[in-house]
Symmetry: C2
Subunit: 159 residues, 2 copies
């Protein structure tokens, strides 16, 4: 089985897949008479003709080593995940290779950090590590087929 | 000075102003082969001709008693706040009274619970209680004047 190592997420490494939701080094502006930093538009929701909606996901966890058997993508909209707990989590993504996912990459995402997957990016299901976790999710609702799944030859992800 | 008491938020009490972002008693659906609860579309972003964006706010705190001197509203879009820390926080809102805010109401919002203010709802600035806090914010970006501020005769909010 092909084995890959989980790697720490960075905005640069994740850029082909989407945005990292974390405060910038300096805020874009101060609001509320200087009492509040606004780290502005870390992501823009892609929604086509649909609407942006806010949901909460509560997911069971996985542990490493983890064999990833499937990737999916949402061609019509972006999907943002922000963890609401105190634990790091994992996101698995892949480049597209002629309409199918290429070799996955696994990123370790710190607690308090979210991601926004751009429309059409191959990704694994939500994978908190070791403990169930809750996420705020911002994605798209509307007409059209917005889910494509691809079974893959399982790839083992290790620490 | 007029004094009001902070009250626990409930979906019913908050309904005239917006949505409470917390998991429902039962999830709307199970996804990821039953491993993940989806509490679906707790809020829909109002954005008019603009776009939905995701930002992070980092705000200084206030403590009770707190004298609220000003309310604001965003006529062109909704604004959702989800706390990313472990502490309860406060949201102040008011009904509209002929284009000006009426008497404010203050809600105590538990840790892990967010709100989505509907477009045009009068509200106070972001007020974490006692400790600075960080929030994921989903609101609108686009053309047009989307901020209206109203100085009010200060209202004292007590525990």
């Amino acid at each position: 089985m092909t084995t890959i190592k989980i790697q720490p997420i960075t905005p640069e490494a994740f850029a082909p897949f989407g945005d990292v939701l974390t405060p910038r080094a300096t805020p874009d502006r101060l609001i509320n008479a200087g009492r509040c930093e606004r780290h502005h538009a870390l992501a823009t929701v892609e929604r086509g003709e649909g609407e942006a909606i806010i949901s909460i996901f509560r997911s069971e966890s996985v542990s490493l080593p983890y064999d990833c058997p499937m990737l999916e993508r949402h061609p019509l909209g972006s999907q943002a995940f922000m963890p609401l707990g105190d634990d790091p989590w994992m996101t698995v993504v892949a480049h597209d290779d002629g309409g199918k996912p290429g070799l996955p990459l696994a990123f370790l995402v710190p607690a308090g950090t979210g991601i926004n997957l751009r429309a059409g990016v191959w990704h694994g299901v939500l994978t908190p590590l070791d403990k169930p976790a809750q996420f705020l999710v911002v994605d798209r609702e509307g007409d059209g087929v917005n889910l494509e799944e691809a079974q893959i030859t399982p790839v083992r992800i290790t620490a």
